[in-house]
């Protein structure tokens, strides 16, 4: 009877989780969705606590207290610019949790074997997947976190035979798993732990060669692995709620990584094994012609301000540079000043701008930019021809015309903004360096492009002041 109640509660919780995600289809319903998700989680936890297997509560209470304290601690005050790091970090915890549960389950399984119980192949196989994916997600997410934080170099780290090695390790782990499934009762423990260790190592090795600019795909993919690990736990524990939630998480991660790859016009395989901008692609590219003698218009803040003051319509294109210099509030202030002068300001958001899906939207929302002023790539791309000025704030690849014209460019085929169609372009950039994608940007050398070099936030504040002074 008690077991039935628990299962019914899990069913209710699963439905609430689906409704929670359903709520995220619009900003108005989002918060209600979150509430439903919280409710579902509460129901699921209470139901678990009344299960007959749970006999002692000291460790449970300790874990819940520690977890809640840390969870509240890192989430209450976290600045929005740190969201990608925080997501990577939490995937790491998710991975850790699943792989630890897997190890605990394995210990229990061994107890059963010692007692002479039958062990099902399904639990052995599912446990293997769980622990392998969990540990891979754990170290992979730590690496992604390190790259985002700048502790580990954001540039791809590669060496010869790297992919062969990784793929070899992957199949090695798979072979170990296959043996354990074939001989569930007699396979030695070292196999299980070697598989676990391979997962840990692969997480590190697989993320090392991926560049910082590809992080949106990696984070989404890790999201999906964390989900699949939870699914595997569900198979091992015969728990439907774990399978359902894991599948929701997994499909969300997969969908996002597909969207991100599509927005870069690159395949999964290319992101994972391609090691963008390592030199093997840029070396062959004729974009080198832009390098020395090519001249660009370096403009002062006053010049740029004059252009903006004369504009009736402005499109702002934010990029990772805006997040780095925390310039979202300064962008909003400038836009407000422009709007006051009767100028129309829109924001163009590229799917891969920033370091995670939706990164720019959250930053601008934080700065109180209304979300109906934000536009996706295909919604705004025709508007550039009718626009007086485009303000590029720390974006680079997403405004590179080479993606449309230069077949040798590593970003060729990636959908980009038609910035060069507008009357004038103002680019805020730290320096004329190509950045680590290593791709030269023709846009910066266009005759109607003004380069304002320096910290984006300072420049924006300067522009805003110049506008007040230059005003009527």
């Amino acid at each position: 009877m008690r077991e039935q109640i628990v299962n019914l509660a899990y069913l209710v919780a699963s439905i609430l989780f689906i409704l929670c995600l359903r709520g995220l289809s619009s900003p108005e319903q989002g918060r209600r969705g979150v509430f439903l998700g919280e409710l579902g989680m509460f129901i699921a936890v209470v139901a678990t606590l009344i299960k007959t297997e749970v006999v002692r509560y000291d460790f449970i209470v300790a874990g819940l207290l520690i977890g809640s304290t840390i969870g509240v601690g890192i989430s209450a005050k976290l600045p929005m610019t740190k969201m990608p790091e925080r997501i990577a970090f939490s995937h790491a915890f998710g991975g850790l949790a699943t792989s630890l549960v897997g190890v605990a389950e394995y210990l229990k399984l061994h107890e059963d074997i010692a007692l002479g119980h039958e062990v099902s192949r399904l639990s052995v196989g599912a446990l293997g997947f769980e622990v392998f994916l969990g540990s891979l997600t754990f170290t992979g997410s730590i690496m992604a976190f390190g790259k985002l934080q700048g502790v580990i170099t954001g540039a791809p780290v590669t060496w010869k035979g790297q992919n062969v090695m990784n793929i070899g390790a992957f199949f090695g782990a798979l072979a170990l798993l296959a043996y354990q499934v074939a001989f569930p009762a007699s396979s030695p423990a070292w196999m299980f732990y070697t598989m676990c260790a391979t997962g840990f190592a692969l997480g590190i090795l697989a993320v090392l060669p991926i560049g910082g600019a590809d992080m949106p795909v990696v984070i989404s993919l890790l999201n999906s692995y964390a989900g699949l690990a939870a699914c595997a736990t569900g198979f091992a524990l015969k728990s439907n709620i774990l399978i359902i939630s894991g599948a929701l998480d997994g499909s969300s991660g997969l969908l996002l990584s597909m969207l991100m790859s599509k927005a870069m016009n690159r395949s999964f395989a290319n992101v994972l094994f391609g090691a963008f901008g390592t030199g093997d692609s840029t070396g062959a590219s004729p974009t080198g012609k832009a390098a020395p003698g090519k001249s660009y218009n370096e403009a002062t803040v006053e010049d740029a301000s004059a252009v903006l003051q004369a504009s009736q319509s402005v499109i702002v294109i934010p990029g990772y540079g805006m997040a780095v210099s925390q310039a979202q509030h300064a962008v909003r202030d400038l836009a407000a000043a422009l709007e006051k002068r009767g100028c129309e300001v829109k924001y163009a958001i590229h799917p891969v701008a920033g370091r995670m899906p939706g990164h720019m939207n959250v930053l601008l929302a934080e700065a109180n930019v209304p979300y109906d002023a934000l536009f996706d790539l295909d919604m705004i791309n025709d508007d550039f021809a009718r626009t007086d000025a485009v303000l590029v704030v720390g974006a680079n690849d997403v405004v590179n015309p080479a993606a449309k014209t230069d077949t040798a460019s590593p970003i060729y085929g990636m959908p980009v903004f038609n910035v060069e169609a507008s009357r004038s372009v103002i680019v805020l950039k730290r320096s004329m360096n190509t950045g680590f994608s290593g791709v030269e940007n023709e846009l910066f050398f266009h005759p109607n492009t003004m380069m304002v070099l320096g910290d984006a936030k300072k420049t924006l504040i300067g522009l805003n002041n110049a506008m007040k002074d230059g005003g009527h």
């Binding site: 995220l24 999201n223 979300y371």
Partner: protein
């Protein structure tokens, strides 16, 4: 093949399908809240961790379970909290600014 596996696969396939349908309706605008929201939901591994932490299969299992409970709780509590914090920030323009506003979501 065991019937448990088949049954599990049924659930998995259907849930993936539902997940795909629901999530493809989430606009790009809300992709970051989506990630932190699914992250919170994936904290449902608590269900497994709690059992491990509270079981009678030896101290090692309990300690591992306890760490797992803590990790999963960080995701659940932190994930829901930060998702809510983000969603609170998304506001419509003062006058709904323009006809294309409605199409955005």
């Amino acid at each position: 093949m065991s019937s448990d596996l088949i049954f599990g696969l049924y659930i998995f396939a259907l849930a993936t399908f539902v997940g795909y349908q629901v999530i493809s309706r989430v606009p790009a605008l809300l992709h970051t809240p989506l990630m932190s929201g699914t992250n919170a939901i994936s904290g449902i591994s608590l269900v497994g961790s709690l059992v491990a932490a509270g079981s009678h299969h030896g101290l090692v299992a309990n300690v591992l379970g306890c760490i797992a409970v803590a990790s999963a709780t960080i995701n659940v509590v932190g994930g829901f909290m930060i998702t809510d914090r983000m969603l609170k920030m998304f506001k419509k323009g003062p006058q709904g600014s323009g006809a294309n506003a409605a199409k955005k979501a």
